[in-house]
Symmetry: C2
Subunit: 216 residues, 2 copies
DNA sequence: TGACAAATTAACCTTTTGGTACATTCTGTT
DNA sequence: AACAGAATGTACCAAAAGGTTAATTTGTCA
Protein backbone atom coordinates (compact mmCIF):
# COMPACT_ATOMS: atom_id res chain seq x y z
CA UNK A 1 0.00 0.00 0.00
CA UNK A 2 2.93 2.27 -0.26
CA UNK A 3 4.99 4.38 -2.60
CA UNK A 4 6.26 4.63 -6.05
CA UNK A 5 4.19 5.69 -8.92
CA UNK A 6 7.07 6.59 -11.11
CA UNK A 7 9.74 4.55 -9.38
CA UNK A 8 10.98 1.24 -10.55
CA UNK A 9 8.68 -1.50 -9.44
CA UNK A 10 11.23 -3.49 -7.57
CA UNK A 11 14.55 -2.50 -6.19
CA UNK A 12 16.25 -3.15 -2.92
CA UNK A 13 19.67 -2.92 -1.41
CA UNK A 14 21.45 -5.75 0.29
CA UNK A 15 22.07 -4.82 3.88
CA UNK A 16 22.43 -7.90 6.08
CA UNK A 17 23.61 -6.06 9.16
CA UNK A 18 20.94 -3.43 8.85
CA UNK A 19 18.21 -6.01 8.41
CA UNK A 20 19.42 -8.05 11.35
CA UNK A 21 19.64 -4.98 13.56
CA UNK A 22 16.20 -3.83 12.50
CA UNK A 23 14.63 -7.18 13.23
CA UNK A 24 16.43 -7.45 16.54
CA UNK A 25 15.29 -4.02 17.66
CA UNK A 26 11.68 -4.61 16.72
CA UNK A 27 11.68 -8.10 18.19
CA UNK A 28 13.03 -6.71 21.44
CA UNK A 29 10.03 -4.42 21.71
CA UNK A 30 7.48 -7.00 20.72
CA UNK A 31 8.81 -9.76 22.96
CA UNK A 32 9.13 -7.35 25.87
CA UNK A 33 5.60 -6.19 25.26
CA UNK A 34 3.86 -9.54 24.90
CA UNK A 35 6.12 -12.26 26.21
CA UNK A 36 7.62 -15.07 24.19
CA UNK A 37 4.49 -17.05 23.41
CA UNK A 38 2.35 -13.96 23.21
CA UNK A 39 4.60 -12.26 20.69
CA UNK A 40 3.59 -12.75 17.08
CA UNK A 41 6.07 -13.22 14.31
CA UNK A 42 3.70 -11.42 11.99
CA UNK A 43 3.58 -8.48 14.38
CA UNK A 44 7.35 -8.30 14.38
CA UNK A 45 7.73 -8.27 10.63
CA UNK A 46 4.87 -5.83 10.30
CA UNK A 47 6.87 -3.29 12.28
CA UNK A 48 10.00 -4.13 10.36
CA UNK A 49 11.23 -2.90 7.05
CA UNK A 50 11.97 -6.50 6.11
CA UNK A 51 9.93 -9.55 5.32
CA UNK A 52 9.09 -12.60 7.34
CA UNK A 53 11.49 -14.69 5.40
CA UNK A 54 14.44 -12.80 6.84
CA UNK A 55 13.70 -13.79 10.41
CA UNK A 56 14.04 -17.42 9.52
CA UNK A 57 16.96 -16.72 7.24
CA UNK A 58 18.99 -15.07 9.98
CA UNK A 59 17.62 -16.47 13.22
CA UNK A 60 16.33 -19.91 12.38
CA UNK A 61 13.08 -19.79 14.30
CA UNK A 62 11.19 -17.89 16.94
CA UNK A 63 13.28 -19.32 19.76
CA UNK A 64 16.49 -18.44 17.98
CA UNK A 65 15.32 -14.90 17.54
CA UNK A 66 14.35 -14.64 21.18
CA UNK A 67 17.71 -16.00 22.26
CA UNK A 68 19.49 -13.28 20.30
CA UNK A 69 17.17 -10.62 21.67
CA UNK A 70 17.90 -11.78 25.18
CA UNK A 71 21.60 -11.85 24.52
CA UNK A 72 21.53 -8.26 23.32
CA UNK A 73 19.53 -7.22 26.36
CA UNK A 74 22.03 -8.73 28.79
CA UNK A 75 24.89 -7.20 26.85
CA UNK A 76 23.49 -3.71 27.19
CA UNK A 77 22.63 -4.12 30.83
CA UNK A 78 26.10 -5.24 31.78
CA UNK A 79 27.76 -2.78 29.50
CA UNK A 80 26.27 0.04 31.52
CA UNK A 81 27.60 -1.35 34.77
CA UNK A 82 30.98 -1.95 33.24
CA UNK A 83 31.46 1.71 32.54
CA UNK A 84 31.10 2.75 36.14
CA UNK A 85 34.79 2.68 37.01
CA UNK A 86 34.22 1.59 40.56
CA UNK A 87 37.91 1.29 41.29
CA UNK A 88 38.22 5.03 41.29
CA UNK A 89 36.10 5.44 44.41
CA UNK A 90 36.37 4.43 48.05
CA UNK A 91 34.59 1.11 48.53
CA UNK A 92 31.52 2.43 50.33
CA UNK A 93 31.06 5.21 47.80
CA UNK A 94 31.58 2.83 44.94
CA UNK A 95 28.96 0.48 46.30
CA UNK A 96 26.51 3.31 46.78
CA UNK A 97 27.14 4.44 43.24
CA UNK A 98 26.65 0.95 41.86
CA UNK A 99 23.37 0.45 43.68
CA UNK A 100 21.95 3.83 42.68
CA UNK A 101 23.12 3.42 39.11
CA UNK A 102 21.59 -0.03 38.82
CA UNK A 103 18.31 1.25 40.15
CA UNK A 104 18.20 4.06 37.62
CA UNK A 105 19.48 2.03 34.75
CA UNK A 106 16.90 -0.69 35.18
CA UNK A 107 14.24 1.94 35.48
CA UNK A 108 15.34 3.54 32.25
CA UNK A 109 15.43 0.20 30.43
CA UNK A 110 12.37 -1.70 31.51
CA UNK A 111 12.32 -3.72 28.31
CA UNK A 112 15.47 -5.55 29.22
CA UNK A 113 14.14 -6.42 32.64
CA UNK A 114 10.93 -7.64 31.14
CA UNK A 115 12.84 -9.86 28.77
CA UNK A 116 14.71 -11.40 31.66
CA UNK A 117 11.49 -11.90 33.56
CA UNK A 118 9.97 -13.56 30.52
CA UNK A 119 13.00 -15.77 30.22
CA UNK A 120 12.46 -16.86 33.80
CA UNK A 121 8.88 -17.77 33.06
CA UNK A 122 10.30 -20.10 30.45
CA UNK A 123 12.78 -21.55 32.94
CA UNK A 124 15.78 -19.96 31.33
CA UNK A 125 15.83 -22.32 28.40
CA UNK A 126 16.99 -19.75 25.86
CA UNK A 127 19.65 -18.47 28.18
CA UNK A 128 21.13 -21.92 28.32
CA UNK A 129 21.72 -21.78 24.58
CA UNK A 130 23.86 -18.69 24.81
CA UNK A 131 27.63 -18.81 25.00
CA UNK A 132 28.26 -15.13 25.47
CA UNK A 133 25.83 -14.20 28.22
CA UNK A 134 27.52 -16.08 31.07
CA UNK A 135 30.80 -14.37 30.28
CA UNK A 136 29.24 -10.95 30.38
CA UNK A 137 27.67 -11.60 33.71
CA UNK A 138 30.76 -12.83 35.45
CA UNK A 139 32.20 -9.34 35.13
CA UNK A 140 29.82 -7.81 37.62
CA UNK A 141 30.72 -10.43 40.17
CA UNK A 142 34.45 -10.06 39.79
CA UNK A 143 33.96 -6.30 40.08
CA UNK A 144 32.11 -6.78 43.34
CA UNK A 145 34.71 -9.21 44.61
CA UNK A 146 37.40 -6.66 44.00
CA UNK A 147 35.30 -4.03 45.71
CA UNK A 148 34.72 -6.18 48.76
CA UNK A 149 38.37 -7.04 49.02
CA UNK A 150 39.25 -3.38 49.10
CA UNK A 151 36.55 -2.64 51.64
CA UNK A 152 37.62 -5.43 53.92
CA UNK A 153 41.25 -4.47 53.62
CA UNK A 154 40.39 -0.92 54.44
CA UNK A 155 38.34 -2.00 57.42
CA UNK A 156 35.11 -0.38 56.31
CA UNK A 157 33.45 -3.63 55.18
CA UNK A 158 32.49 -6.53 57.37
CA UNK A 159 34.83 -9.47 56.97
CA UNK A 160 32.08 -11.82 55.90
CA UNK A 161 30.45 -9.80 53.14
CA UNK A 162 29.48 -11.93 50.19
CA UNK A 163 29.77 -10.31 46.75
CA UNK A 164 27.20 -12.64 45.27
CA UNK A 165 24.72 -11.94 48.02
CA UNK A 166 25.32 -8.26 47.45
CA UNK A 167 24.58 -8.56 43.78
CA UNK A 168 21.51 -10.60 44.56
CA UNK A 169 20.21 -7.92 46.90
CA UNK A 170 20.73 -5.07 44.49
CA UNK A 171 19.17 -7.06 41.68
CA UNK A 172 16.18 -8.01 43.77
CA UNK A 173 15.38 -4.39 44.50
CA UNK A 174 15.97 -3.07 41.04
CA UNK A 175 14.33 -5.89 39.14
CA UNK A 176 11.25 -6.08 41.32
CA UNK A 177 10.78 -2.37 40.86
CA UNK A 178 10.23 -2.98 37.17
CA UNK A 179 8.94 -6.50 36.93
CA UNK A 180 6.12 -6.18 39.44
CA UNK A 181 5.12 -2.62 38.87
CA UNK A 182 1.81 -3.41 37.18
CA UNK A 183 0.33 -5.54 39.95
CA UNK A 184 1.91 -3.62 42.79
CA UNK A 185 0.73 -0.23 41.67
CA UNK A 186 -2.72 -1.53 40.90
CA UNK A 187 -3.08 -3.04 44.34
CA UNK A 188 -1.35 -0.40 46.43
CA UNK A 189 -1.46 2.76 44.37
CA UNK A 190 1.42 4.32 42.52
CA UNK A 191 2.87 6.53 45.21
CA UNK A 192 6.08 4.54 45.06
CA UNK A 193 6.29 4.91 41.30
CA UNK A 194 6.15 8.67 41.12
CA UNK A 195 9.48 10.43 40.77
CA UNK A 196 9.48 11.23 44.44
CA UNK A 197 8.57 7.67 45.39
CA UNK A 198 11.30 6.25 43.21
CA UNK A 199 13.85 8.55 44.77
CA UNK A 200 12.84 7.30 48.16
CA UNK A 201 13.14 3.70 47.08
CA UNK A 202 16.53 4.31 45.59
CA UNK A 203 17.70 6.01 48.76
CA UNK A 204 16.35 3.11 50.76
CA UNK A 205 18.22 0.64 48.59
CA UNK A 206 21.48 2.51 48.98
CA UNK A 207 21.22 2.80 52.73
CA UNK A 208 20.20 -0.82 53.11
CA UNK A 209 23.09 -2.05 51.06
CA UNK A 210 25.58 0.13 52.86
CA UNK A 211 24.25 -0.93 56.24
CA UNK A 212 24.54 -4.53 55.17
CA UNK A 213 28.23 -4.34 54.41
CA UNK A 214 29.46 -1.80 56.92
CA UNK A 215 31.70 -3.03 59.65
CA UNK A 216 30.13 -2.52 63.05
CA UNK B 1 -8.53 -46.25 27.66
CA UNK B 2 -9.92 -46.88 31.08
CA UNK B 3 -12.70 -48.63 32.92
CA UNK B 4 -15.68 -50.70 32.49
CA UNK B 5 -16.03 -53.90 30.69
CA UNK B 6 -19.18 -54.83 32.47
CA UNK B 7 -20.16 -51.36 33.61
CA UNK B 8 -22.74 -49.18 32.01
CA UNK B 9 -21.31 -47.41 29.00
CA UNK B 10 -21.98 -43.91 30.14
CA UNK B 11 -22.50 -42.57 33.60
CA UNK B 12 -21.40 -39.46 35.35
CA UNK B 13 -22.33 -37.52 38.42
CA UNK B 14 -23.18 -33.86 38.46
CA UNK B 15 -20.60 -32.10 40.56
CA UNK B 16 -20.26 -28.44 39.59
CA UNK B 17 -18.06 -27.45 42.50
CA UNK B 18 -15.82 -30.45 42.08
CA UNK B 19 -15.41 -29.81 38.38
CA UNK B 20 -14.66 -26.15 38.91
CA UNK B 21 -12.13 -26.92 41.61
CA UNK B 22 -10.49 -29.57 39.48
CA UNK B 23 -10.16 -27.26 36.50
CA UNK B 24 -8.89 -24.45 38.68
CA UNK B 25 -6.23 -26.59 40.29
CA UNK B 26 -4.99 -27.98 37.01
CA UNK B 27 -5.11 -24.59 35.32
CA UNK B 28 -3.05 -23.13 38.14
CA UNK B 29 -0.30 -25.62 37.45
CA UNK B 30 -0.40 -25.25 33.70
CA UNK B 31 -0.49 -21.47 33.67
CA UNK B 32 2.27 -21.29 36.26
CA UNK B 33 4.30 -23.71 34.21
CA UNK B 34 3.92 -22.13 30.78
CA UNK B 35 2.60 -18.62 31.17
CA UNK B 36 -0.70 -17.31 29.93
CA UNK B 37 -0.10 -17.45 26.19
CA UNK B 38 2.07 -20.52 26.45
CA UNK B 39 -0.51 -22.52 28.37
CA UNK B 40 -2.72 -24.71 26.22
CA UNK B 41 -6.39 -25.22 26.90
CA UNK B 42 -6.05 -28.72 25.54
CA UNK B 43 -3.24 -29.41 27.98
CA UNK B 44 -5.40 -28.24 30.85
CA UNK B 45 -8.36 -30.42 29.99
CA UNK B 46 -6.10 -33.34 29.30
CA UNK B 47 -4.95 -33.26 32.92
CA UNK B 48 -8.49 -32.75 34.11
CA UNK B 49 -11.24 -35.21 34.74
CA UNK B 50 -13.59 -32.97 32.81
CA UNK B 51 -14.01 -32.01 29.19
CA UNK B 52 -13.06 -28.88 27.33
CA UNK B 53 -16.56 -27.56 27.20
CA UNK B 54 -16.63 -27.13 30.96
CA UNK B 55 -13.92 -24.52 30.93
CA UNK B 56 -16.01 -22.33 28.71
CA UNK B 57 -19.16 -23.23 30.57
CA UNK B 58 -17.79 -22.09 33.91
CA UNK B 59 -15.09 -19.58 33.06
CA UNK B 60 -16.11 -18.06 29.75
CA UNK B 61 -12.78 -18.11 28.02
CA UNK B 62 -9.07 -18.52 28.60
CA UNK B 63 -8.74 -15.07 30.13
CA UNK B 64 -11.63 -15.67 32.46
CA UNK B 65 -10.05 -18.88 33.63
CA UNK B 66 -6.73 -17.19 34.19
CA UNK B 67 -8.40 -14.39 36.14
CA UNK B 68 -9.93 -16.92 38.51
CA UNK B 69 -6.65 -18.77 38.87
CA UNK B 70 -4.91 -15.54 39.75
CA UNK B 71 -7.61 -14.65 42.22
CA UNK B 72 -7.21 -17.94 43.99
CA UNK B 73 -3.45 -17.51 44.09
CA UNK B 74 -3.67 -14.09 45.73
CA UNK B 75 -6.24 -15.38 48.16
CA UNK B 76 -3.97 -18.13 49.39
CA UNK B 77 -0.94 -15.90 49.61
CA UNK B 78 -2.68 -13.31 51.73
CA UNK B 79 -4.48 -15.90 53.78
CA UNK B 80 -1.14 -17.15 55.03
CA UNK B 81 -0.04 -13.72 56.13
CA UNK B 82 -3.38 -13.05 57.73
CA UNK B 83 -2.90 -15.93 60.14
CA UNK B 84 0.30 -14.57 61.60
CA UNK B 85 -1.27 -12.73 64.51
CA UNK B 86 1.29 -9.96 64.49
CA UNK B 87 -0.50 -8.03 67.21
CA UNK B 88 0.63 -10.58 69.75
CA UNK B 89 4.29 -9.69 69.38
CA UNK B 90 6.44 -6.64 70.07
CA UNK B 91 6.72 -4.60 66.85
CA UNK B 92 10.30 -5.51 65.97
CA UNK B 93 9.69 -9.17 66.58
CA UNK B 94 6.46 -9.06 64.63
CA UNK B 95 8.20 -7.46 61.70
CA UNK B 96 10.96 -10.04 61.77
CA UNK B 97 8.41 -12.79 61.88
CA UNK B 98 6.49 -11.33 58.96
CA UNK B 99 9.59 -10.98 56.82
CA UNK B 100 10.86 -14.48 57.56
CA UNK B 101 7.44 -15.98 57.08
CA UNK B 102 6.91 -14.25 53.76
CA UNK B 103 10.27 -15.47 52.56
CA UNK B 104 9.46 -19.05 53.45
CA UNK B 105 5.91 -18.93 52.26
CA UNK B 106 6.82 -17.65 48.84
CA UNK B 107 9.50 -20.23 48.61
CA UNK B 108 7.03 -22.95 49.42
CA UNK B 109 4.52 -21.68 46.90
CA UNK B 110 6.45 -20.73 43.80
CA UNK B 111 3.44 -21.28 41.57
CA UNK B 112 1.62 -18.32 43.01
CA UNK B 113 4.60 -16.07 42.54
CA UNK B 114 4.99 -17.24 39.00
CA UNK B 115 1.36 -16.45 38.31
CA UNK B 116 1.83 -12.94 39.62
CA UNK B 117 4.95 -12.53 37.53
CA UNK B 118 3.06 -13.73 34.48
CA UNK B 119 0.29 -11.30 35.25
CA UNK B 120 2.84 -8.52 35.26
CA UNK B 121 4.10 -9.55 31.87
CA UNK B 122 0.57 -9.00 30.70
CA UNK B 123 0.42 -5.59 32.36
CA UNK B 124 -1.99 -6.66 35.04
CA UNK B 125 -4.97 -6.77 32.76
CA UNK B 126 -6.62 -9.75 34.41
CA UNK B 127 -6.06 -8.33 37.84
CA UNK B 128 -8.02 -5.27 36.84
CA UNK B 129 -11.05 -7.46 36.25
CA UNK B 130 -11.08 -8.76 39.78
CA UNK B 131 -13.21 -7.26 42.50
CA UNK B 132 -11.97 -9.39 45.35
CA UNK B 133 -8.21 -9.21 44.97
CA UNK B 134 -7.76 -5.55 45.91
CA UNK B 135 -9.70 -6.13 49.11
CA UNK B 136 -7.51 -9.03 50.10
CA UNK B 137 -4.37 -7.07 49.58
CA UNK B 138 -5.37 -4.05 51.58
CA UNK B 139 -5.24 -6.24 54.67
CA UNK B 140 -1.50 -6.60 54.64
CA UNK B 141 -1.06 -2.86 54.44
CA UNK B 142 -3.41 -2.09 57.28
CA UNK B 143 -1.62 -4.73 59.31
CA UNK B 144 1.68 -3.05 58.65
CA UNK B 145 0.26 0.38 59.43
CA UNK B 146 -0.92 -0.89 62.77
CA UNK B 147 2.48 -2.43 63.37
CA UNK B 148 4.30 0.77 62.52
CA UNK B 149 2.05 2.81 64.76
CA UNK B 150 2.84 0.56 67.66
CA UNK B 151 6.56 0.65 66.90
CA UNK B 152 6.63 4.41 66.65
CA UNK B 153 4.60 4.79 69.79
CA UNK B 154 6.92 2.48 71.62
CA UNK B 155 9.95 4.37 70.35
CA UNK B 156 11.61 1.41 68.66
CA UNK B 157 10.64 2.45 65.10
CA UNK B 158 11.81 5.52 63.28
CA UNK B 159 9.12 8.17 63.07
CA UNK B 160 9.16 8.24 59.30
CA UNK B 161 8.80 4.54 58.52
CA UNK B 162 6.46 3.92 55.63
CA UNK B 163 4.37 0.75 55.81
CA UNK B 164 3.98 0.61 52.05
CA UNK B 165 7.70 0.95 51.50
CA UNK B 166 8.20 -1.81 54.02
CA UNK B 167 5.84 -4.11 52.21
CA UNK B 168 7.52 -3.24 48.93
CA UNK B 169 10.91 -4.14 50.34
CA UNK B 170 9.84 -7.47 51.75
CA UNK B 171 8.02 -8.33 48.55
CA UNK B 172 10.98 -7.40 46.40
CA UNK B 173 13.24 -9.79 48.28
CA UNK B 174 10.82 -12.66 48.47
CA UNK B 175 9.43 -12.38 44.97
CA UNK B 176 12.77 -11.98 43.25
CA UNK B 177 13.99 -15.06 45.06
CA UNK B 178 11.40 -17.08 43.16
CA UNK B 179 10.78 -15.18 39.98
CA UNK B 180 14.38 -14.84 38.88
CA UNK B 181 15.78 -18.04 40.16
CA UNK B 182 16.23 -19.66 36.77
CA UNK B 183 18.39 -16.97 35.21
CA UNK B 184 20.20 -16.04 38.39
CA UNK B 185 21.24 -19.54 39.27
CA UNK B 186 22.27 -20.28 35.73
CA UNK B 187 24.49 -17.21 35.58
CA UNK B 188 25.90 -17.21 39.07
CA UNK B 189 25.55 -20.75 40.30
CA UNK B 190 23.03 -21.99 42.82
CA UNK B 191 24.91 -21.43 46.03
CA UNK B 192 22.22 -19.00 47.11
CA UNK B 193 19.48 -21.50 46.38
CA UNK B 194 20.72 -24.32 48.53
CA UNK B 195 19.11 -24.63 51.92
CA UNK B 196 22.07 -22.94 53.52
CA UNK B 197 22.06 -20.17 50.96
CA UNK B 198 18.37 -19.56 51.42
CA UNK B 199 18.80 -19.34 55.16
CA UNK B 200 21.45 -16.72 54.68
CA UNK B 201 19.23 -14.73 52.36
CA UNK B 202 16.35 -14.92 54.77
CA UNK B 203 18.56 -13.76 57.62
CA UNK B 204 19.82 -10.92 55.44
CA UNK B 205 16.27 -9.87 54.66
CA UNK B 206 15.28 -9.85 58.29
CA UNK B 207 18.27 -7.85 59.42
CA UNK B 208 17.91 -5.38 56.55
CA UNK B 209 14.26 -4.79 57.28
CA UNK B 210 14.87 -4.37 60.99
CA UNK B 211 17.75 -1.99 60.37
CA UNK B 212 15.57 0.01 58.05
CA UNK B 213 12.90 0.68 60.63
CA UNK B 214 14.89 0.84 63.83
CA UNK B 215 15.16 4.17 65.53
CA UNK B 216 18.76 5.33 65.71
C1' DT C 1 -43.68 -39.49 36.66
C1' DG C 2 -42.84 -36.22 33.54
C1' DA C 3 -41.11 -31.96 32.27
C1' DC C 4 -37.66 -28.51 32.61
C1' DA C 5 -33.19 -26.74 33.87
C1' DA C 6 -28.52 -27.67 34.96
C1' DA C 7 -24.44 -30.30 33.94
C1' DT C 8 -21.63 -32.79 30.83
C1' DT C 9 -19.86 -35.16 26.62
C1' DA C 10 -18.04 -35.60 22.06
C1' DA C 11 -17.38 -33.98 17.64
C1' DC C 12 -16.62 -30.14 14.92
C1' DC C 13 -15.24 -25.41 13.07
C1' DT C 14 -12.57 -21.10 12.11
C1' DT C 15 -8.86 -18.50 12.62
C1' DT C 16 -4.43 -17.92 13.77
C1' DT C 17 0.31 -18.95 13.55
C1' DG C 18 4.88 -20.48 12.97
C1' DG C 19 7.18 -21.93 9.26
C1' DT C 20 8.44 -22.99 4.10
C1' DA C 21 8.93 -23.23 -1.22
C1' DC C 22 10.14 -20.83 -4.85
C1' DA C 23 11.21 -17.14 -7.54
C1' DT C 24 13.85 -12.87 -7.96
C1' DT C 25 17.33 -9.41 -7.26
C1' DC C 26 21.72 -7.93 -5.87
C1' DT C 27 26.88 -7.94 -5.61
C1' DG C 28 31.50 -9.34 -5.67
C1' DT C 29 34.75 -12.05 -8.56
C1' DT C 30 36.91 -13.74 -12.52
C1' DA D 1 29.76 -9.72 -18.98
C1' DA D 2 28.70 -13.68 -16.89
C1' DC D 3 28.45 -16.58 -13.06
C1' DA D 4 27.74 -17.89 -8.28
C1' DG D 5 26.27 -17.26 -4.03
C1' DA D 6 24.20 -14.30 -0.77
C1' DA D 7 20.12 -11.63 0.26
C1' DT D 8 15.27 -10.58 -0.22
C1' DG D 9 10.22 -10.63 -1.60
C1' DT D 10 5.77 -13.21 -2.36
C1' DA D 11 2.68 -16.58 -1.92
C1' DC D 12 1.48 -20.37 0.37
C1' DC D 13 0.73 -24.34 3.86
C1' DA D 14 -0.22 -27.56 7.56
C1' DA D 15 -0.94 -27.79 12.13
C1' DA D 16 -2.24 -25.94 16.29
C1' DA D 17 -5.35 -23.59 19.20
C1' DG D 18 -9.24 -21.34 21.04
C1' DG D 19 -13.85 -21.70 20.86
C1' DT D 20 -18.65 -23.55 19.56
C1' DT D 21 -22.68 -26.59 18.30
C1' DA D 22 -25.61 -30.04 19.20
C1' DA D 23 -26.97 -33.80 21.49
C1' DT D 24 -27.12 -36.58 25.99
C1' DT D 25 -27.46 -37.32 30.81
C1' DT D 26 -28.58 -36.01 35.53
C1' DG D 27 -31.09 -33.78 39.06
C1' DT D 28 -35.29 -31.48 40.88
C1' DC D 29 -39.75 -30.27 41.79
C1' DA D 30 -44.67 -29.89 40.75
Amino acid sequence: MKRNEGERKSSWKQDPEGVKADILAVATSVFAESGFSGARIDEIIRRTKSSKRMIYYYFGDKSGLYAKVLEAAYARLRKGEGQLDLQALPPLDALAKLAAFTFDFHRENPEYIRLITIENIHHGKHLKQSETIPKLNSQIITGLEELCRRGIGEGTFREDVDPLELHWTISAFCVFNISNRATFSHLYGDDLFTDAGQERLRARLVSMVLDAVRAS
